[in-house]
């Protein structure tokens, strides 16, 4: 399969994520959309990694492996972010009993 298909698929997922972040009002759903963005990137990185492997394997035996390693780092950092983000949402829910981001407009003067 040509690489373009992968690029289109992951860009589609990415844009769905962006639209979700910009339009949805539930903090958890916004959060899920951000995860969708990150996973679109993961998909793209793996596809590129394979592409570079196929083109460069004659010169370097482990060509493209760094792309897959990057995916591991993204997964771990995303997990750390999820932990912090969910704690923030839980903390907010304790105080306001809502996870609606429209509800949060106290900071605007």
């Amino acid at each position: 399969m040509p690489i373009n298909y992968y690029i289109f698929l992951s860009l589609t997922l990415f844009v769905i994520g962006i639209i979700g972040v910009l339009t949805r009002r539930n903090a958890i759903i916004i959060f899920m959309c951000i995860e969708l963005m990150l996973n679109a990137v993961n998909l793209l990185l793996v596809a590129f990694s394979k592409m570079h492997y196929v083109t460069n394997v004659s010169k370097v035996t482990n060509a493209g492996s760094d792309g897959q390693l990057f995916v591991f780092f993204i997964m771990v950092v995303a997990a750390a972010e999820v932990a912090v983000g969910l704690s923030i949402i839980v903390m907010l829910f304790r105080n306001t009993h809502s996870v609606d981001v429209n509800f949060l407009n106290r900071l605007k003067h």
Partner: protein, 116 residues
């Protein structure tokens, strides 16, 4: 070792679980009470509706599990090269696990793992 082993394993698993149920049926004394038929039965009668607000503390376990679970993803690339790199790799993964352990120790000390 071919597809035969996979089929044998599947059969063994089926036999084992079916055997367990069968043995249970045979030696069942037949105690019947109301709680028996309820969902999530664990020996204690349920008091309220299950759609109940959970204590926030339970999320802590889930979050801690998530972090420590996902950190271990680094063991996979390590496992690919451990034979080639040798002792250095072993030392490095020890350092990594030690750092994770410090995080675990911190969570324990903070009382995040206490059952409330």
């Amino acid at each position: 070792m071919g597809p035969i082993s996979l089929i044998a394993l599947t059969l063994a698993a089926l036999l084992f679980s079916a055997g367990g149920i069968l043995v249970g049926k045979l030696f069942n004394k037949g105690s019947k009470n109301l709680q028996k038929g309820e969902a999530y039965e664990c020996g204690i009668p349920t008091k309220t509706s299950p759609w109940h607000q959970f204590n926030v503390g339970y999320y802590l376990f889930a979050l801690l599990f998530l972090i420590f679970d996902v950190e271990l993803v680094f063991l996979y690339p390590w496992a690919v090269v451990v034979k080639k790199v040798g002792v250095t790799a072993l030392v490095e993964i020890m350092v990594f696990i030690f750092i994770l352990f410090m995080g675990f120790l911190y969570a324990h000390k903070k009382g995040a793992l206490k059952w409330m």
